[in-house]
Symmetry: D2
Subunit: 320 residues, 4 copies
């Protein structure tokens, strides 16, 4: 990292493209607008084998689930089970049925999730120019609800940066940029087409299960994509609707050049309206793509539909 | 309802088919096994227009969300928003980004959800013959996790019983059986094929938004499918993998003939391993199917992947 | 209720006394300042028998706990118990100890509780004149924390209005005023001294356990004290530090004369800084006072100490 | 620590006294039975100055609250505040009142709390010989509810071990035994009488606020009392009803001699029925006692009354 002072996002992103207003002042789903019927049919058309994969990192690992520092994992509470009748805590309905019931508590971004376009911002304005105070108590604009309502369905491709570098997972803070993605895609025979959903694998969350949690969080700095003007312009030109990765942040935590935290959240999500699907488990999908060479597929996901939420969990479905 | 004593489920369901052991003693997904690559491709093959629908009943209606009596709706809590900086509660990271973050608490079956196959039982045994005590503290067998892991993807058809009866929604406790479903399907030009995911509309949950909550719950008795041996045998013979409806219980609350509560949960889910996807919002999908006459489609859904859970939320995706 | 338009609180309370500034601009505990060492010793001096009573309405009644409409009761979740070892979910520490552990979720005012002085307001100002926006995200002024820190200890007296009216509990919406309280006190031989903590019994919450919940909430209108200028001036003149009752609101829900909701919260709590301890179970204490005739005692309570909270639970201790 | 194998609690505690059955088979409050009217009056009689202290460690420190490893601190959620009206999320009741409302979620033992007598056990039996399976789903025997109902009121004395050792707080894992407590008491002029509530200060939790959280938990081992047969017999002989400390465990985490975890929980709580009040903030009380030399006082506390709970929060009140 340079010794220069860290520039404000306004300065770092000056002159870069924005989609504010492109789909009207009331648009809340941004680049997902690119996923029209043509793209849906393109996704469906990429299915050849009838294979299904789900991408959510499971909730409830006995040693805890990986979450962004400051959040906590989801907690599941049992409220009815067979013990309820052993203890005379439940009446038995006519016919004699018993049942189990449980509850959940946790961060809406405490597992694989879609960010709302209004999840991050700078300079007092969220996506599409709405004031940041519209987030107080709940996102009255650009919450995750409109994304949940429309769903995210289209043609997707996977680029496996970890495999391209010959390693099971990237290291803490390891970065890659546009050129690396394009080289990996080419080496893996992937054609990234305009309006494709882009899935990028780093292996990072897989490392969670092989690491002492304390070690995972010490000097927390995820590997991932790192900011460049070329990268942002490429997303804009390619009209990428959605970025899907297996890190919690979808980009390296701190841009090593500028020292800015999460610049791509701001350049891509706040300014271009690119939807972020984070913290996926790509291990089985990636292994299968390696085995059969089919790296394009139908991506079909809809996060939980929660009014005014800043994000919400999702278990994306992939069909090859 | 008859004056006879209510029979135990064991007696009501005696002689009816069971799939226990059919896919091995350790199988936890039951009739979803029918959704093989052939069925996935059949689902994909039914897509013609590139239209997308999502089926979750939204969480967070200002007047509360409909839930099964005894449960409560999901609560969303704001924990970070623009006020956090107005109040000096959050430090600003390098570059100046702000963000919003929120949490959720509620019943895993407090919105549109998949039941685990182990969600209900009688006679001390859950699906596939495992002991009911295996549910204590968490479902160590037949939780929703294996369903979440495999996903539910296939060809689906919708049968709109409410429209067939010429009404916006069925009344409290109104029932229908196999013959009604088949008649409605025929009248609507729907061919139900073996291994189809069956979507049935009653309009019931749409009535929630037009009803005082107190009235909705008074003498709570959902309309829906009602038990008959013919119905159970038809599900078995047709190898229906999954039942999807717009009621919380997917069947009428109390079978008016026997007086038994939720017999189909036991006949279909516990014994046959049919997956239940409940509390969907079918209003827009049904209206569109009415308009364009295409009543078969790709159904792609994966509930949240939560270890040992008795059920979990889902926002199913439909592609026509 | 009159047919006149409902006056704003500003107008209803015009000209009534205020304690803003009396203990400095930064005071957050208001009339609890009257509970100085002299009052503490007066409370201690009222103890004669060594009898102890606790006043919290228990949490966890199988049929639910009484709460203010729009709130929900507290939920307890078991997270570790003997089943955790039966299920191999917990490791056993050296020596072989097992344990039980549980969690809670609910409204901070979902059981017997102290209100923060900043819990209610009108005209954009809370107690001591601080701006209402200081409540956003948490009470940065006049939260319950300063009350929790100092505790509420002093001489208290009980006035049993229900018994005075010869009934087990007052009816829905039944009211009483200053004259009624003073008459009941006199009839019961209670001397209310300046700076006494005033405990008033209506029996209302006891009726919860004899009532169908639906009936309790239909046309919800608690009985209780009702507003008059004389009452407010009496609290001011008597320097009453704290009002303790067995209703959720400590006053009738709607003042029948003016139509205003909860005027005493504003006249007494917001303007005078009187602490409100609500939803107590006074049944055993009242019966004992009736039996032995000792109606003054030491009151010792400290709500949970929670930073920025608008209220918090308490299990008050009474010693006679 | 010795190299010998760690003995089971059964063996370590063999031959030590038990109070099972002493107050009947259905007794759930154990040694708190010693706190009869005589003891209550003794407590009241120790009040001389009218000073009040509260002992709860506050909830909601911006950097997190200290909790036992594996638990999490309590979370407060704002649900109504002035922003609710700025955002048109709340209707205004007649008269124009606004209000603030918030919720809590967390471990019942996530702040200062009383343990239920059934909180820990070994050999399949909890306090008073009841079976450990009675804890499943909730403590049907010896929960915290009976302690909450009776309250804990009596004469208490404080012994300040940290000050006696001339240090602000004891070190990680530092231990002391009966002799140390008696020496410190004598040096500080404290007379420990039979049936006194015993308050012991280590300073440990005060160190939390001066320590990086990661450092606090690394090699987590609280300082505190450590097991000896003499200590257990002394508690029995002295009929100590309640032990109050400023550590989360009220004893050192691992007995260095035997290697057993939390033997005093079992010897004192499970076997003798001594109530444990843990994680108190004794800093101000201790400083005051040092200043004025009055080290005995009235202790008045009642944990939250929660049905079947394994423990519950409390903000104890001390009056000197």
């Amino acid at each position: 990292m340079t010794d220069s002072p860290v520039p404000p996002l306004r300065e770092l992103l000056a002159g870069l493209p924005s989609n504010w207003g492109k789909w009207g002042d009331n648009d809340e789903v941004g680049s997902l607008n690119y996923l029209d019927a043509t793209q849906v049919l393109a996704g469906v058309g990429s299915v050849r084998q009838g294979k299904v994969f789900t991408l959510q990192t499971p909730v409830g690992h006995p040693h805890g689930d990986p979450v962004w520092p400051g959040r906590r994992g989801m907690e599941r509470y049992m409220v009815v089970d067979e013990a309820s009748w052993l203890n005379d805590d439940q009446e038995t309905p006519p016919g004699g049925m018993h049942w189990a019931d449980d509850m959940i508590s946790g961060y809406l971004q405490g597992t694989t999730q879609f960010d709302a376009l209004g999840h991050v911002w700078y300079d007092g304005q969220i996506y599409n120019g709405k004031p940041a105070v519209s987030t107080v108590g709940g996102l009255r604009f650009a919450s995750v609800a409109p994304i949940a309502k429309r769903g995210v369905v289209g043609r997707a491709v996977i680029v496996d940066v970890a495999r391209h570098r010959g390693r099971p997972y990237l290291e803490r803070g390891e970065t890659f940029g546009l050129v690396d993605v394009l080289e990996a895609a080419e080496a893996q025979g992937v054609e990234i087409r305009p309006r494709d959903i882009l899935v990028v694998r780093t292996g990072w969350l897989e490392s969670w299960y092989n690491t002492e949690a304390a070690d995972f969080y010490r000097d927390f700095r995820e590997p991932g994509l790192t900011f460049s003007t070329e990268l942002v312009e490429w997303f804009h030109r390619m009209e990428i609707p959605c970025l899907v990765t297996d890190t919690m942040g979808n980009e390296t935590t701190i841009d090593p050049k500028s020292g800015v935290q999460l610049p791509l959240h701001n350049a891509l999500m706040r300014n271009l309206g690119v939807a972020f699907c984070e913290a996926c488990d790509l291990s089985e999908l990636a292994a299968d793509c390696d085995a059969d060479g089919q790296r394009e597929f139908l991506f079909a996901a809809a996060p939980l539909h929660i009014r005014e939420a800043a994000g919400s969990p999702v278990n994306p479905v992939v069909v090859k």
